[in-house]
């Protein structure tokens, strides 16, 4: 077996190796070494992800049997277009977040930033790659445990308070996840997603009720991770108080929940599920509408830029799920394009808010006028670009994403609700961000000009995120075609099941 056959496991193995070495380096007080380990691992992840993307972009599905155990019995990693896309997105976002942490020196507030960051990446990549439901739970736990540590990075009472709630909510979520898994295993006798999709139809009539409950519980857990209303209440406080570089990385954590919904619902509760087909689907659309409204209303009402960014994450997840809930190849393709965009846009908002807060001294990122500060022009331009991206105005990719979503939603029966909510929330979001932006960057109160304590390097990471968004807009034709192909692949689980179950050895 050639080495190239082992590429699918690298996105998990690389950070798993980098983390303990970074820890050892930090134990010997060698921050620079740990930092380069972090960047090296991030770059290697990006290259691996791009290599995987190149391999699967023709429609190939790679199945990698861990330990060479054949598929329904052992754990498989599955790389298809969607998984490869999420890997590329994670690696890009990780490099941006790491760059910001290093440029602002916020990685120096504690000793364990770099190892935790790597474990977080390991959990994220594992969740995107695995083809086994229990393994998905394990990787969720890996990424959550790392996120608890990262969220508390820097400490202070505000983080401890929010951290307690975040941890408790997620522990309850994990327990419910296990209950759903127990039910599904008892009914189908397998935990492999592809295998389960084939066996769900054979569940006897008497057990259909339990099967439905299991499906709904599973999707509620994913919705909790994705912060879909009414399960979003944990998010704003947690994200707003996290270290901004960490909050930027967390922009993809809610997307893990969305990814799990996109992966599990068509495969296990898809057309082949017999009586339980599409059980969670009717609940998803109303919840998505409410999330979009709650999120952008929060953007309108928030009192600080980071809180605004946190609500923008909820709003974008809502918009995304409106498109997902259609479950047609067109709408899902539009959703996947918007997913990549909204992750980067949410991260950019957090990073710009931090760059501004570092220059405003005691005013921080509160959305109220303060004295003029050095570097206001650049910060204002970056904020405007990030706000344009987050709300979906032209010329950045949010506009294209929302346009694709609206176009695909027009073919759905509930298109009126989708159009009304997406256009209305965009309007509210624009007003909210414009108001906060003008208060922070435009109006000034009397007072001495605040001297520049912060370094211009603070602007590097947000500028990089925005450059990627510009790239996503310029390459929209290719990107949306890829997203559409990925959606079609996800909605055809029979093919992926055939590959996963037939290909016992990689």
């Amino acid at each position: 077996m050639s080495l190239a056959a082992h590429i699918p496991v690298l996105p998990i193995a690389l950070p798993a190796l980098a983390a303990p070495f970074a820890l050892l380096a930090l134990r010997r007080r060698r921050r620079t070494l740990a930092l380069w380990l972090g960047f090296g691992s991030g770059l290697a992840l990006l290259l691996t992800a791009l290599a995987l993307m190149a391999r699967v972009s023709d429609g190939t599905i790679l199945a990698y049997a861990l330990g060479d155990w054949p598929a329904p019995f052992g754990i498989v990693l599955v790389v298809d277009r969607l998984a490869a896309m999420m890997l590329v997105l994670t690696a890009s976002l990780a490099l941006i977040a790491l760059l910001h942490a290093v440029a602002t020196r916020s990685d120096r507030k504690g000793w364990h930033f770099h190892p935790l960051f790597q474990f977080q990446l390991m959990g994220l990549n594992g969740a995107f790659l695995t083809g086994d439901l229990f393994n998905l739970f394990v990787f969720f736990e890996v990424l959550l445990i790392a996120s608890y540590g990262l969220m508390l990075h820097g400490q202070g009472p505000a983080r401890l308070k929010a951290g307690m709630q975040y941890v408790v909510v997620n522990l309850v979520g994990s327990s419910v996840f296990l209950i759903a898994l127990g039910m599904l295993y008892a009914l189908t006798g397998t935990l492999n997603m592809a295998d389960m999709g084939l066996r769900v139809a054979a569940v006897p009539q008497a057990d259909q009720g339990i099967l439905r409950i299991a499906g709904l519980l599973l999707v509620s857990v994913f919705a909790l991770k994705a912060a879909v209303a009414p399960l979003h209440l944990w998010l704003p406080r947690t994200y707003a108080v996290s270290t901004p570089a960490v909050a930027a990385l967390f922009a993809i954590m809610t997307k893990v929940g969305v990814y799990a919904i996109i992966r599990v619902v068509p495969q296990v509760f898809g057309d082949g599920a017999g009586a339980a087909a599409w059980v969670p689907a009717p609940w998803l659309f109303p919840a998505a509408l409410v999330s979009a409204v709650v999120g952008f209303a929060g953007v309108f009402a928030a009192r600080s830029l980071s809180e605004q960014a946190a609500y923008a994450v909820i709003g974008s997840t809502g918009t995304l799920l409106i498109a997902v809930a259609g479950w047609t190849p067109e709408s899902l393709g539009a959703a996947l394009y918007y997913l990549a965009h909204s992750t980067l846009a949410g991260a950019a908002l957090f990073l710009v808010a931090d760059a501004a807060a570092r220059r405003r001294g005691p005013f921080g990122d509160t959305a109220s006028p303060g004295p003029a500060f050095a570097g206001r022009g650049i910060a204002a331009m970056l904020f405007m670009a990030a706000a344009i991206a987050a709300t979906g105005l032209p010329p950045l990719s949010g506009f294209i994403g929302k346009l694709l979503i609206l176009k695909s939603a027009a073919a759905l029966p509930d298109w009126g609700w989708a159009w009304g909510v997406i256009l209305g929330t965009t309007f509210i979001g624009v007003i909210g961000l414009a108001r906060a932006g003008s208060a922070v960057f435009w109006k000034t109160v009397e007072g001495d000009v605040l001297a520049a304590r912060a370094r211009p390097a603070d602007f590097a990471a947000p500028a990089l995120a925005l450059a990627l968004l510009a790239g996503l807009s310029a390459g929209a034709g290719w990107a949306s075609a890829y997203a559409g192909a990925a959606a079609a692949q996800v909605l055809d689980p029979a093919r992926s099941a055939a590959v996963v179950l037939a290909e016992a050895t990689p």
Binding site: F134, V138, E141, I145, Y148, L152, G156, P157, L160, K161, G163, M164, Q165, V167, V168, L171, V172, S174, S175, L178, I179, L181, G182, M183, Y185, A186, L191
Partner: protein
């Protein structure tokens, strides 16, 4: 499961308390207690609630492989019926994760209490009354 297949303590006056009933009711009681405690306002009670809830989840997972008595989970030449080994492995994983998380949440709660001076889950300073019920000034307080 027939009554004669059960061990002696479970056979009472001819009527069997089935294992299924015992396990299901135990899970139910643990879940009820766990949710009640997890919804309370003080971190210690919340942690206890989470612990009870996770016990219930572990029992539930264990039962998902069906309840089989006196059968080995691993292969043996002379045996034709087995207990499902997979849920046992799953429970082991779940126990390890829950144990680690409980330890973490206890430390986090303690740290939060020491730094903010409050053990309220919202971090509010709420006077703590150790008596649950009516106090001397006639007001009912609940922890």
């Amino acid at each position: 499961m027939s009554a004669s297949a059960l061990p002696a303590p479970l056979r009472q006056r001819g009527r069997a308390v089935s294992y299924e009933f015992l396990l299901a009711s135990a899970i139910g009681v643990l879940v009820a207690g766990g949710i009640f405690l997890a919804l309370r306002a003080r971190t210690f009670q919340v942690v206890l609630g989470l612990t009870l809830f996770s016990y219930a989840v572990n029992l539930f997972l264990f039962a998902s492989g069906r309840l089989v008595l006196g059968r080995p989970p691993i292969w043996d030449k002379t045996i034709t019926e087995y207990a499902d080994p997979l849920p046992q492995a799953l429970v082991l994983t779940a126990i390890v994760i829950t144990f680690g998380m409980t330890a973490f949440v206890v430390i986090l709660a303690l740290r939060g209490f020491l730094e903010t001076g409050s053990d309220h889950v919202d971090g509010d300073i709420v006077p703590c009354d150790t008596h649950d019920g009516p106090t001397t000034d006639g007001k009912v307080t609940r922890l």
